[in-house]
Symmetry: C2
Subunit: 408 residues, 2 copies
Amino acid sequence: MATITKVSPLAPAAFPKLPVIDGVRFATVEAGVRYQGRTDVMLAVLDPGTSVAGVFTRSATRAAPVLDCQEKIGGASDGPAAILVNSGNANAFTGHYGQASVAAVTQAVADVTGVAVERVFTSSTGVIGEPLAHDRILAQLDALNGALSSDAIEDAARAIMTTDTFPKGASAQVDIDGQRVSIAGIAKGSGMIAPDMATMLVYIFTDAKVEQSALQAMLSSQTDTSFNCITVDSDTSTSDSLLLCATGASGVDATGNAAFAKALNGVMLDLAHQVVRDGEGATKFVEIRVSGAASDADAKVHGLAIANSPLIKTAVAGEDPNWGRVVMAIGKSGAAADRDKLSISFGEILVAENGWVSPNYSEDEAAAYMKGQELVIAVDLGLGDGQSTVWTCDLTHGYIEINADYRS
Amino acid sequence: MATITKVSPLAPAAFPKLPVIDGVRFATVEAGVRYQGRTDVMLAVLDPGTSVAGVFTRSATRAAPVLDCQEKIGGASDGPAAILVNSGNANAFTGHYGQASVAAVTQAVADVTGVAVERVFTSSTGVIGEPLAHDRILAQLDALNGALSSDAIEDAARAIMTTDTFPKGASAQVDIDGQRVSIAGIAKGSGMIAPDMATMLVYIFTDAKVEQSALQAMLSSQTDTSFNCITVDSDTSTSDSLLLCATGASGVDATGNAAFAKALNGVMLDLAHQVVRDGEGATKFVEIRVSGAASDADAKVHGLAIANSPLIKTAVAGEDPNWGRVVMAIGKSGAAADRDKLSISFGEILVAENGWVSPNYSEDEAAAYMKGQELVIAVDLGLGDGQSTVWTCDLTHGYIEINADYRS
């Protein structure tokens, strides 16, 4: 494994102070699954009455824990629930052995915590194709169960990290009918990140009360405009999972509440952006705003073509306002575009309009803008009302360093 | 512009000896379009009776010279023809100015050479979005026309280079009814290379006689299995053009001749592979063989997902037999796959079968294999008869170096 010695320059100053979510407790441990000298397993136990919704990678080669979670989501909803996550090994492409590991871990968690096995969800993240040493996890379950605490969510955020350079957390609080509900979430992910849920694990907890099918609908729709709008390297993981758990401990029903939905979206976007900010080797955070497309779907296709273009990502790394490459990406995306109606801006600087460089464009001004750490590339297609915003980072030597020897 | 000081380690030992093709003459010049101290414009003039076929980028933001060529291909076919190419400036996304440059250059070439303007084809390659200093080209046309020579094809290959580290040429000869016909081609391209004709210019000449519509059909079908099966960085140029010119000077009709088609395919594949071998920063040449897919189209989707994955390309750079990333790429490609029927080989080494690592797999053996310069990654989906082969290179620090400051 590559040794990550430096925190991303785009990282937040510190892990945020997250509110305690009544109804969920966390514990972490050093199980030595692969890493030494750091925690690598986290257990979360949720009180009876918790609704659990989930979205997962669409990869055709999904890992065993993902398949297991997908079977369980939307099923039994009585009694408590549990989430167990290990880092260091993805338990992906491990055939029948992988399924056996999931069965062993989920059953053991059920035995130790008293949670029905149908309500035990697991995730694994790390190297693909190597058997998971699940005995090392089983050996720690009693200790984990004994250490559960309602204010250990930051520890949980740390235990699930792989090539992440900082733990990721976000929260929101919202008042509904005069009563406060809280949302707190954690995430891991820094490479193999692309739409359709890349190597990313996300766990969001709220003490609001939301019925499972409503919670699932809210989660699925908000994923499309948050986690499915970020990309680091266009690669999609076999293991991505996002679980949203509503414990109901506040007694406040947030089903269909717009303020709650907005607060949840804020937490999801914040976590999604933190994943990009920890993009492997990232030195710049880039927002791509596409407007004037023939449809929202077309706008997203253009946005992702720009966000995934190695030539654009290297130009950003080189602080080069190379808008010609933006034209190239729009041209190759496959979505509708008319060269002579295109406008391109870098931040507030109008670079190109009507198919050519703007008469007022100053290369020096644009080059100065590109030296910033937070960049906006805006494209207007001039065709319709479709719009979409996606987020990415630059492509640097750091990405090559991390990924050319991840396993060695 | 980045200074390219080192020839690709994957380059051929020397530019090949190409046969003279009767009916075509070349000249090159230092016009100073952008580069100094090297040739940057080439002119080819073709004798009356030459059939010209072409394939071009499908980018929605095609450059002006491409649009002009596309209008002309398949049109007037009497009289001589001419091809003029400049490097250093792509004349792309240059609006009406770009069209005016093409009009000025094609008319001036027509005036100087006596070729009808409908038979004058141009290409421009280099930086996007800056006006082409076409006056510098016009100033050299008399000199070019006076210098035309039938054995200057290597000079032509050099004049069209941009970030290329070596000139690219290939040839074949084939006997038809006891009479010899020759094919010779040149190409440029090393970045912004992806299927659907990336930043690549290719000119192939033959003294065979082939009627234009038959020549076009042959070219289009052979492009799908040669130039559209290579990728360096998944980016697609606004300027790609391939012209195939049959002068007929041998008097031998090759229309519908299988041996000729095969020889042409060999020249196209050879040039396509040379483009990959000159991939920006490339240190390894990788052949991706996909078999057992549900269809040939599915096999190509899987092959390109593997070939374009930054995580696989960096693993290859790091000489890491990281087959888990191959599983990941297959999973994300969108084409049909069944995890538990997958087999993966590196060269002759069977790595994984039936959804898990092969019992005989030796990581040491695979790691030793990855140290080679020419690699084969083979995937069998176990689903059907579909197959496809695509070619790519690794993703190294060199790519970042070249592209983070191309314009500076």
